[in-house]
Amino acid sequence: MTDQAKRNPGAAKRGSGRGGAFFYAVVATVAAGGAIAGAMLLSNIAQRKAEAEQVAFALVPLEETTVDPAEWGKNFPRQYDGYKRTADNERTRFGGSESLPLADDPLGKAVQKLEVDPRLRVIFNGYAFALDYRERRGHAFMLHDQRETDRVKLKPQPGACLNCHASNVLAFRQAGLGAGAPGHLSEPLTSENGMAQLFKGFDKVNKMTYADASELVNHPVTCLDCHDPKTLALRITKPGFINGIRALAKSEDPVPHLPSVEQWRKGSRAREYDPNELASRQEMRSMTCAQCHVEYYFKGEGKTLTFPWHKGLKLEQIEAYYDETGWTDFKHKDSGAPALKAQHPEFEMWSQGIHARSGVSCADCHMPYKREGAIKVSDHQVRSPMLNTARACQTCHNYSENEIKERVAAIQDRTHKLMGRAEDAVVELISAIKSAAESGASDEQLKGARTLQRQAQFRCDFVNAENSMGFHAPAEAARILGESIDYARQGVAEVMKVTGGKGYKSLLADKPATPGGEPGKAAEKVEKPKDGAAAVSAAGGRPPG
């Protein structure tokens, strides 16, 4: 202590030597800590200010030939991160699909809907959907699941299937150039040559076999399918939609939710409606999704992907178009009815709802903005808004998350129950027609009932295949299902008239009843069909626990 006092006379003078040094040490530490904390706060504020100024850095050049999303991800890591997360398939009440890896396939398979709801096997008997009809998964799986489904492996399909299940803008242009289209790949897609290449390739690939066409593509939907590589603006790259929206624009169906189409209609119509030129940014936030989330069919020998919008977007108008062109998806194996298959008509259904009318686009709910630090990006993890209720719904709907979820559940449960009734009714009709035909009723006699089956089945399927369980347009979905039930029961009455009231056996009479798919989970206990099909767990059912 004395030595210390010698070296630091001042300290000794100030007060008790040991206590004084300790006091100074504490104050020094606190001050140092304060300086450090202050510097950290300063650094944090500086980072927020920098994030406000610049949100993305152009590290790699992006071209019309850059298909690989990992390249785009170097410039836009936050969006790329969200995009990859579409592999995450948390189950919601009626959406999502958790699946387990399989021994021969690490990506696994989604739950088989045909096991959960055996009525579907009856309704689609005679069509590939009676073989394999699994729950849909996130965008990340779209190409894999299409390549692996029995509908493609066991039935010959055309390359047209790849219009929606793969990133094909580059493949189409290359095929088009190979078929003699003008120009070269570096030209912008929206240029005259670019479009010529795209459409020529579209024609060529549609006709190919699925196996051949599948070799041309490597990715599910990518950045290039929706974004211009230079400006990042949204754009349409799929010929099916371009043709479809042109046809819709020429129709009489009012589309107040697509103001640029209404505007084009009032104009001279000298040029076709071109969404890349005329659609507003907000409309584009729905139209890019409508490149794939639509009803369609493959027209003619060329298997040209066609959206049936020539009379309008409403179900009756689509049905009228199909009737006029004489289109039938398949002849029903049990009843002989000329049946239609509906495929994921989200855009058509959404168009009838209040959200579309209020200017709410697909991206507003399914890709809402999220904040990372001080940067605002669109959430590229396209998924159910029920998994993201705060950001997807609360920006406009100022209610608690639970209340919002309950409202959605109420709508979906009601739709689901109506759909169950419709499915039952359609199965009854199919059973009745089959019985009558087997007892000797003629085609002429059964024509009315078979037409009613076509109408009833299309309506029931329209809502089943649409991925919102009625939420996109609840009143429209309920109306469609009501008509489905009505037509199916009318059909049974028709058959009764023909057979003189003779009874029939329901095609599901000897199959045990199932709940028809309880909301929120795959059926826990699924009675195996009599032919002993693979168990649900092997097909990738609900994870244990």
Partner: protein, 186 residues
């Protein structure tokens, strides 16, 4: 006590030693300050300096004003700021006119409380999104509605509404201005 006596002895010894060891030190008293004290001053000065600079960098003084641009220092508020520009109240009310009580004490204590909450949210990013007003701050807004529009609403007997009251008018809850008249400010 023993220590005091010992310290005094050591004091003297130290002073003696100091005188003996460093005559220069004795002649220049300001060098007699200890190195520890010097280090301490430097550190405290650094802390104050960093803190002061951070205050300036973060535009700290702007928060004492009524300028709406100060609220938009955080660009998460840009939509509200832009919305206010287009709103019906643009010409008659700034952010503080609605979101802060008008008495001198109330105004600055509220600014301090809200400022603290906003600063922690800004730094740690752990706030609910979309941003939702707290029950207390909603009450301040409602009070300010009644303050300006007192002539019109004086006849309506309404106390300070709770958050539940604001969202579920009726059923015995007090009337809330913003439940129907939302979007007035931004």
């Amino acid at each position: 006590m023993d220590t005091t006596a010992r310290e005094q002895t050591e004091d003297q010894a130290g002073a003696e030693a100091g005188k003996q060891a460093g005559p220069e030190r004795a002649r220049r008293p300001w060098l007699a300050w200890s190195t520890a004290g010097l280090v301490l001053s430097v550190l405290v000065g650094a802390a104050v300096g960093v803190g002061g600079y951070t205050f300036h960098y973060a535009k700290g003084t702007s928060y004492l004003s009524n300028d709406p641009a100060a609220c938009a220092n955080c660009h998460v508020m840009r939509e509200q700021y832009d919305g206010w520009h287009k709103s019906r109240h643009h010409a008659v009310a700034t952010c503080n006119d609605c979101h802060v009580p008008q008495g001198l004490v109330g105004k600055y204590t509220t600014k301090a409380a809200q400022g603290y909450r906003h600063s922690t949210a800004f730094t740690f990013g752990n706030f609910h999104e979309p941003i939702a007003i707290t029950a207390e701050d909603l009450a301040i807004v409602e009070d300010n509605c009644r303050r300006c529009h007192s002539a019109m609403v004086a006849e309506i007997n309404s106390g300070r509404p709770t958050r539940e009251g604001a969202l579920s008018v009726g059923h015995g809850q007090e009337a809330s201005c913003t439940h129907c008249h939302h979007g007035m400010g931004h």
